[in-house]
């Protein structure tokens, strides 16, 4: 039985107040591109829909000294067209360019994309590789959640029911500025990824100083390819090294069979995409 109510909020303070009051009944709605199918398929029935679409104060992309700050209400269209994102987080820009279709990108927001925590969320994979930090706020205070601790499972995050994402921080560093994103879908538009990979490497005198590799759609949450990363660091960055280490990605992932692809196929293709992403990021 559908039992929804609707509250419009005009500013962050109001939003935190309503979240505090409604607790588990809260369902934040911004672009609505995930929430509406959930309502249609009765995945949610008894919620207070809190409209934050007009919270312009949370729609920004700012450059600070050592990081960039992205407001949760930033649309995918904004990400696609930001010079700051292009310069410091190209993986995120490339993910935005592959995201659904241009009309959906006008509505969908980065905050909604990660809060929904789909294993295939297109912005989640790059944010994981970029070592982003999610700033969450509630009436009782502010806390910073490293993105590695943010995704807990399919549609599950570390956010409490009264918390609102207020900023997504991305550190400025060479690995992030070199980052790239590759998505394999069954077609180019409106495709949910079969496998997605984001990678960023920083080289020092030809050797790997830092290597960040993340994958989507290969586990219940987006995952870091820790085995691959460990095998790269400190070594001379050559096509041969990339070829060998990319294969190790099967240690880091646990893909399932679903309507889009088999787990076996995902494992094979993940290694190929990791290889391509590393080569692209390290420019070899």
């Amino acid at each position: 039985m559908k039992n929804f109510s609707f509250v419009n909020v005009e500013n962050k303070a109001d939003a935190l107040e309503v979240l505090h009051r409604e607790k588990e009944k809260s369902c934040l709605v911004a672009g609505a591109t995930n929430v509406m199918p959930f309502i249609r398929y009765e995945k949610i029935n008894d919620k207070t829909l809190i409209n934050i679409r007009n919270l312009q104060e949370l729609r920004f992309i700012r450059e600070e000294e050592d990081k960039i700050e992205i407001g949760p209400l930033t649309t995918i269209y904004d990400l696609e067209n930001s010079e700051i994102i292009e310069k410091y987080a190209p993986a995120l820009r490339e993910a935005a360019q592959d995201f659904a279709d241009p009309t959906t990108r006008n509505s969908a927001t980065i905050g909604g994309n990660i809060a929904n925590a789909s294993p295939a969320a297109d912005t989640a994979t790059p944010l994981l590789a970029l070592n982003a930090v999610v700033v969450a706020e509630s009436k009782s205070g502010v806390r910073k959640i490293p993105i590695q601790e943010f995704f807990l499972g399919v549609n599950k995050t570390a956010l409490q029911c009264d918390e609102l994402i207020t900023v997504i921080e991305v550190p400025k560093n060479a690995a992030n500025s070199n980052s790239c994103f590759i998505k394999l879908g069954l077609r180019n538009a409106m495709a949910i990824s079969v496998v997605s990979v984001a990678a960023g490497v920083e080289l020092a005198e030809g050797k790997v100083a830092h290597a960040n590799v993340a994958l989507g759609s290969v586990a219940p949450t987006p995952v870091r390819a820790k085995t691959v990363e460990a095998a790269l660091v400190g070594k001379e960055f050559t096509p041969g090294l990339v070829e060998e280490t990319a294969k190790l990605v099967t240690e880091d992932i646990s893909p399932i069979d679903d309507v889009r692809a088999s787990g076996e196929y995902r494992k094979t293709v993940a290694a190929v995409l990791v290889k391509r992403a590393l080569k692209k990021s390290g420019k070899i």
Partner: protein
């Protein structure tokens, strides 16, 4: 469960109505007689319900009606009466035979308009990307791309 009262300016006319909290903008528009906004998949995949909401193209089936309170909506039919670019696109769709059953046409025209307004050039690949969220099951897309290309070319001169 209580209904909420919203006021939305649709095609230049203020409309006041009570809606359920979970109603989508598409159902609201059709309930008010704007039948040129088509209901296809109702899950954001097919694009035929695309409208201009507060200046951006959006899929009205995945927008809450209540979110449109105080806002402005333009549909393909309404734009066709006042907007020169939409008129050009509508004319080009007829001339190029881009309409067979016509069900996808309102969304295609708005996607084409959004593309050209953002500075889109006459470039077939870019046009295909611009309409990638709009499905057509009749034409094979070629004639739709032809029509948008034609108008993009006219506008870039």
């Amino acid at each position: 469960m209580s209904e909420i009262n919203i006021t939305v300016t649709v095609n230049g006319t203020k409309i006041n109505a009570n809606v359920k909290p979970e109603m989508n903008l598409l159902k609201f528009l059709r309930s008010q007689g704007f039948y040129d906004v088509k209901c296809g998949c109702e899950m954001g995949d097919c694009g035929t319900c695309t409208v201009i909401f507060n200046g951006s193209s959006v899929k009205s089936c995945i927008t809450l009606a209540a979110q449109a309170d105080g806002g402005t909506v333009w549909t393909n039919k309404g734009l066709g009466e006042v907007d020169e670019l939409t008129q050009k696109l509508q004319k080009a769709f007829v001339e190029h035979g881009s309409i067979q059953c016509g069900f996808c046409t309102p969304g295609m025209i708005i996607a084409g308009k959004a593309y050209i307004e953002k500075g889109g050039k006459p470039d077939r690949n870019e046009i295909k990307k611009a309409i990638s969220g709009n499905l057509c099951r009749c034409t094979g897309y070629k004639k739709i791309v032809d029509a948008i290309y034609d108008v993009a070319e006219q506008m870039s001169k």
